[in-house]
């Protein structure tokens, strides 16, 4: 049953999404792609939409995936599922006065989990960049995706040299949309 599948899928995301929004993206890709709820393309578009609309990214993604699979009921269930673990955990942590997190064994586990997540996010970002930037068609390397990737990367990372913090993620998404229209639409 799709509602139950959505609930369990996003409960998993909520339970293991350490490291904020970007920590959740590899997990959400994992859950959503293996269940076949969205294809990679649409999921990537939706990540950009979630980034450009207010609210936590993983909550936005849960709402969208739920709605696309099972309408309003699906979006409610998926959103509830993604929020529920952190809600319960904070209640527990507050009740136990943070002693659980200071426990040396818990600390030892977290010391392993955190670097692993960084590696996972790094791999996901690199894989997405390579997949979007290096596109082969009929044995020939496509120039436009490659040039777009290089140009956008240069603008995003290069802007830090001139302005503290560089351009914002939303600004990058707007620029990339314009660049996409310029490269493919004209």
């Amino acid at each position: 049953m799709i509602l139950l599948e959505l609930f369990i899928g996003f409960l998993k995301v909520g339970c293991f999404a350490f490291g904020g929004a970007y920590g959740a993206i590899p997990l959400i890709r994992d859950v959503v792609l293996s269940a076949g709820w969205l294809d990679d393309e649409l999921l990537t578009y939706m990540i950009a939409v979630s980034e450009s609309t207010p609210g936590p990214i993983m909550v936005n993604l849960a709402t969208y995936v739920g709605s696309s699979q099972a309408g309003l009921a699906g979006s409610l269930i998926a959103t509830l599922a993604v929020v529920l673990p952190s809600f319960i955990i904070i209640l527990l942590v507050t009740a136990m006065l943070k002693t659980a997190l200071k426990n040396p064994y818990v600390q030892a586990m977290l010391r392993g989990i955190k670097p692993c997540i960084i590696g996972i996010i790094l791999a996901t970002g690199l894989y997405m960049m390579l997949k979007n930037g290096i596109v082969m068609r009929e044995g020939a390397l496509q120039l436009r995706p490659l040039l777009l990737s290089l140009a956008l990367g240069a603008v995003y990372f290069g802007s830090r040299r001139y302005k503290k913090g560089g351009i914002s993620p939303i600004m990058l998404i707007c620029l990339s949309a314009l660049a996409g229209i310029a490269a493919y639409g004209v």
Partner: protein, 225 residues
């Protein structure tokens, strides 16, 4: 004003105006809850940020639940969390009804071809920032590299291995090393312990590096205690 309604509306306002999620929200929550409403102190805010970082889930949700609970117990936690989620829920629900039809418009489809490149850049950037803050020690670096290599293999070959398994493996290895680092425990057992063996070839290096890292893990544990 009714306290529950106040919590709900305050967090709904935060939920409506924070783009990008995560750390961008902390500044807004601090402004609303510490300076404006004085629901919590600055120190409590720092504490909750640390807790939010070491627990799963969106940081904004963690903060909302904490502040709501501090003010009005369970009902307060529900009110604040619901307020946090509601605005983006409505917006995304509306978008979800139109997005696929929207993408059929030619120039919007072109725009999204550019946007998907931006998403890769943003994810890569988030990882690089976290990497900079990571302790520059052998063990976290090894685990990071193994997680990276394993995940890359999973992506490239479309393996059906969940990233949750990678995280649990890393947690188990770290815990095993910590236990092995304690006096009386043998260091030879660690490479076999807590490894389901499905995490890909990337973990072979980890097994080899395992015994060498025992003392490092121990030293780290000692610092914390």
């Amino acid at each position: 004003m009714n306290m529950l309604a106040d919590l709900f509306l305050s967090f709904a306002r935060i939920g409506l105006f924070t783009f990008g999620g995560g750390y961008a929200m902390i500044a807004l929550i601090e402004h609303a809850c510490v300076e404006e409403k004085q629901w919590i102190t600055h120190d409590e805010m720092m504490n909750i940020t640390v807790i939010a970082e070491s627990t799963p889930g969106p940081i904004a949700i963690n903060c909302a639940t904490f502040v709501g609970y501090q003010q009005q117990g369970f009902a307060g936690a529900v009110a604040a969390t619901a307020g946090m989620v509601l605005p983006s829920f409505c917006i995304i629900y509306a978008i979800s009804m139109w997005l696929e039809r929207f993408l059929e418009i030619r120039w919007i489809a072109c725009a999204f071809k550019g946007i998907k490149i931006a998403v890769g850049i943003l994810i890569l950037d988030a990882a690089l920032k976290m990497l900079k803050k990571m302790p520059a020690k052998k063990l976290p670096r090894t685990i990071m590299f193994c997680g990276f290599a394993a995940m890359l293999l999973i992506d490239v070959f479309s393996l059906r291995i969940s990233s949750i398994l990678l995280m649990l493996t890393a947690g188990a290895i770290s815990l095993a090393l910590f236990l092995a680092g304690k006096p009386g425990a043998g260091a030879g057992t660690i490479s076999g312990a807590g490894k389901p063996g499905a995490a890909g070839p990337g973990c072979k290096a980890e097994a080899a590096a395992g015994p060498g890292n025992g003392p490092a893990a121990n030293a780290e544990g000692g610092e914390r205690a």
